[in-house]
């Protein structure tokens, strides 16, 4: 059985892991402790939200302008 203090380590690992599976022992704790389960879900939610919020979709015109700027700079460089 894992206690709340163990969650800290898990959250730090969760912050880095591609595999977000819950370590054995902690799963049982999360099933019983709503506050800890909520923290795990929050961290995952923040990760997703940050990714999607920063994933800017440029309009075709904006992207064309950006690309043209880059290619012009390369042409100047020669």
């Amino acid at each position: 059985m894992t206690d709340c203090a163990s969650l800290n380590e898990f959250l730090v690992d969760l912050a880095s892991a591609d595999d977000e599976s819950v370590p054995p022992g902690l799963e049982q704790h999360l099933a019983l402790c709503e506050a800890c389960a909520r923290q795990v879900d929050d961290v995952r939610a923040v990760r997703l939200m940050v990714h999607d919020a920063l994933d800017l979709e440029l309009t075709e015109a904006d992207q064309a302008e950006l690309d043209a700027m880059v290619l012009a700079a390369i042409a100047r460089q020669g």
């Binding site: 709340c4 203090a5 969650l7 800290n8 959250l11 730090v12 690992d13 912050a15 880095s16 591609d18 506050a35 800890c36 909520r38 923290q39 879900d41 929050d42 961290v43 995952r44 939610a45 923040v46 990760r47 997703l48 939200m49 940050v50 990714h51 999607d52 919020a53 920063l54 994933d55 800017l56 979709e57 440029l58 992207q63 950006l66 690309d67 700027m69 880059v70 290619l71 700079a73 390369i74 460089q77």
Partner: protein
């Protein structure tokens, strides 16, 4: 302009470019410029600076293409150049020491959450379609001190590993993990506050 077959990999395009085929570099620029811009905006929060990073990145790629040995994917190589460019710009423009007060005020881990706190979980899938929500998230990220924001963007937007971030920022992996986690908690708290004010 022909932007190549969708199935054609970056590495195949690079091979064609190295073989002297004209018109390939614009395809690579078109394929990756938006993502480089997104990375730079996330780190710098300034469109002009972000455009500069895009330009510097592709200039550097163009100059150094002969040195690309394919040990990582072209995309990884390019994004590493972009990250370094953004970091250099960020460090050049820093004029005063950072005050990590925001992070220090993030609540201790394990604190019991208020039952009235905004639940972020159902909102996580809406960010892509909800401009106001996305703006709140970006504002929360922007409010982080630079060094915490760097890590958050590198990890959550660019998807770098902790080891890669540690290499870029000259930090140990445990330090990266800890700072990243604290940054996420700070973003969570700011979001809760902002969304609560908006009645969400």
């Amino acid at each position: 302009m022909d932007f190549g077959e969708p199935a054609e990999t970056d590495e195949e395009l690079v091979a064609r470019l190295r073989a002297g085929e004209p018109g390939i570099f614009p395809v690579l620029v078109h394929r990756h410029s938006a993502r480089v811009f997104g990375l730079a905006m996330g780190m710098l929060h300034n469109a002009q600076d972000a455009q500069d990073v895009v330009q510097e990145t592709f200039l550097s790629v163009h100059r150094r293409l002969d040195g690309f040995r394919g040990e990582s994917s072209f995309r990884t190589w390019l994004m590493r150049i972009a990250t370094n460019s953004a970091l250099m710009k960020l460090r050049r423009r820093r004029r005063k020491p950072e005050l990590p007060l925001v992070i220090e005020e993030a609540e201790p881990q394990g604190r019991e959450l208020s039952h009235e706190a905004v639940d972020l979980r159902p909102l996580a899938d809406k960010v892509h379609h909800d401009r106001q929500l996305a703006a709140h998230v970006r504002a929360a990220v922007e409010a982080l001190p630079d060094r915490f924001r760097e890590e958050l963007v590198l990890a959550d937007y660019q998807g770098l590993s902790m080891a890669e971030i540690g290499d870029l920022l000259d930090l140990t992996v445990p330090n990266v993990k800890t700072r990243l986690h604290r940054a996420r908690l700070a973003v969570r708290d700011r979001l809760r506050s902002r969304l609560g004010e908006d009645g969400l």
